[in-house]
Symmetry: C2
Subunit: 347 residues, 2 copies
């Protein structure tokens, strides 16, 4: 089959790789219908996260089950399924607690020896624990399929951030980061009942989506000016909850500084740079909590899926460019240059 | 009156200062019956926190109301009262939310121009919002009075840490720090239903109190050896909740490393050193939350007071040395040299 591989910074290739096959009894092979490019893929693309030359890439996909091992009980060939961005065994204590990202048998798509999502097919270990079945008729609904693809990562990650930010009905929430995760954070905050949602961003194409998703205010300033603007919008106090969806020292500093005393920062931006962006003294004096991390999207999939299927939740507008498999390198380039928000891949 | 003042590192004096009087309508003057020395006072004592020469010191006290301003409604001369370590107006949004430490009219005892607890009397601003009345007959019960004094800071701070650590019935909790706050954290964790409480400490006088307070295990190792010991005690996973009651980079690093994935670090040690002890990547990958800060002990006073009065909560064993006012400098020296755990002051 053909799949995307990464050989060096900015050197992505789409090339022939071995066809995936069932190796372990719990495996399934999934033919990819839709995949996408994540903001976190750009860290590898830019060389800021190390990769072995030739390693696969892409961790978001949905598709059709093509084969199952003898140990797979809940899935059959032909099933339409979505995959979270990590696989997990579904049976350990962490999986039972809803923290599948800590499953000792889990792993991240594209990590050494595994398939990546940006290819024609994927061998899925622990298919019963990992995959979530979708209604068969979704396969013929392009818009729905796109919305469902977001459950693979960005929508669940935005939800995790909103939970970490402690969003409750009536909350005031600020969102740092205008990428797909930040925008899904807006959507998640609205879904959880936030009354006021302040999106930080300056690109109209993105802030328009933020407003569509429920942002009540947009702050275009940066750095200290952005902090001042959020304070002014909140009577000088800051937001009860802040969603941090970038992962840099500057964004974390901004997030802490715009949180209300006693509030929470829900962080889901993969941390880059050390922890020095965190001023613990400020957090201490003001009782600001920091919660979040890699999102256990598998845990959130059932409830978010129900809302997507009944039409109350639609993250599909975050996708603004579609490519085929050969177009993946162009898709990365567009996201790296911020001419695309999130790239959909149809292999 | 006479009160303790700090003139330079290691230079504490007990000297004549102006008698406190009612200045504002909401003030009360409290004659101090019991005060104490806090581990956080040692930062000023050692010169690691700046102080103006002659500044008062001490932020924990209980005593008898000696005078009230015309605006004080809930207290009368002769009332026995305990004070939290900050004053607060009792009427703002933060006070209503139970975050009195963020009260815009609040302040810390001993800060510029205010009285400190380690003296004969204290002018208390916003007396109605700040002070909590105690039963009059407690004044004649020495052990009870000592237990009630702990509600001024260490017991409420230990409780805040336990809440930050997310302690629930059945939790496994680890406690970093064997000072009075750490030990009160053990007590608070037991009170909240922790099933297993692992105290890190190597001084038998302190670990004996930890066991008395409910610790089920004691780890005497330090650094990486301590982390390994906690992991071994918890089946390799770490503790659901970790109470961090020291405030150094090393203690914070230990706290994060002994937390179970998905767990929480409740931190109440005043941060010293930068935030670089926090490895955000570790916290991110393992979904470890950080919650805590300066404890709003005023919010916790009513429920903890009820438990002290009915005999189910007794933090008094943390006090192991008693001095009079002239003995305060000796008391600091003893705590600085770790020959005393916590010093009680009877002015």
């Amino acid at each position: 089959m053909r799949a995307t591989t990464i050989h060096a910074p900015f050197d992505l290739r789409v090339e022939e790789v071995p066809d995936p096959v069932v190796r372990d009894p719990g495996d399934a092979v999934v033919r990819v219908l839709r995949a996408c490019v994540c903001g976190s893929d750009l860290w590898a693309y830019r060389g800021e996260s190390a990769r072995t030359p030739g390693q696969r890439i892409g961790h978001e996909f949905l598709g059709v089950v093509e084969a199952t091992g003898p140990g797979v009980g809940g899935l059959r060939t032909g099933d339409l399924v979505v995959s979270p961005f990590v696989w997990s065994d579904g049976t350990c204590d962490y999986c039972a607690e809803g923290l599948q990202t800590s499953c000792p048998n889990g792993g991240f798509w594209g990590s050494g020896g595994s398939d990546g999502g940006q290819g024609e097919a994927v061998r899925v270990p622990f298919a019963d624990g990992t995959l979530v079945r979708l209604p068969a008729d979704a396969a013929s609904d392009d818009r729905l399929l796109t919305a469902l693809l977001a459950l693979s990562d960005v929508m669940g990650t935005g939800h995790h951030a909103a939970l970490g930010a402690g969003v409750r009905p009536g909350s005031t929430v600020a969102v740092v980061g205008d990428g797909a995760v930040g925008l899904c954070g807006v959507l998640a905050a609205r879904r959880l009942g936030a009354e006021r949602i302040i999106a930080l961003g300056r690109h109209p194409a993105r802030t328009d989506i933020a407003r569509l998703f429920g942002a009540t205010d947009v702050v275009a300033e940066r750095g200290e000016a952005a902090e001042a603007a959020v304070r002014e919008l909140t009577g000088g106090h800051g937001a009860h909850g802040v969603i941090e969806a970038v992962g840099t020292e500057q964004s974390m500093r901004t997030a802490v500084n715009i949180a209300r005393d006693g509030g929470s920062v829900g962080y889901v931006g993969v941390p880059h740079g050390s922890g020095t962006g965190l001023d613990l003294s400020v957090m201490f004096d003001r009782n600001i909590a920091l919660r979040g991390g890699v999102a256990p999207v598998r845990a959130y999939l059932p409830e978010l899926l129900a809302d997507v299927l009944d039409g109350t939740l639609d993250p599909s507008p975050v996708f603004d460019l579609t490519v085929d498999l050969d177009g993946v390198p162009d898709g990365y380039r567009a996201m790296d240059e911020r001419t695309a928000l999130k790239v959909l891949v149809r292999p």
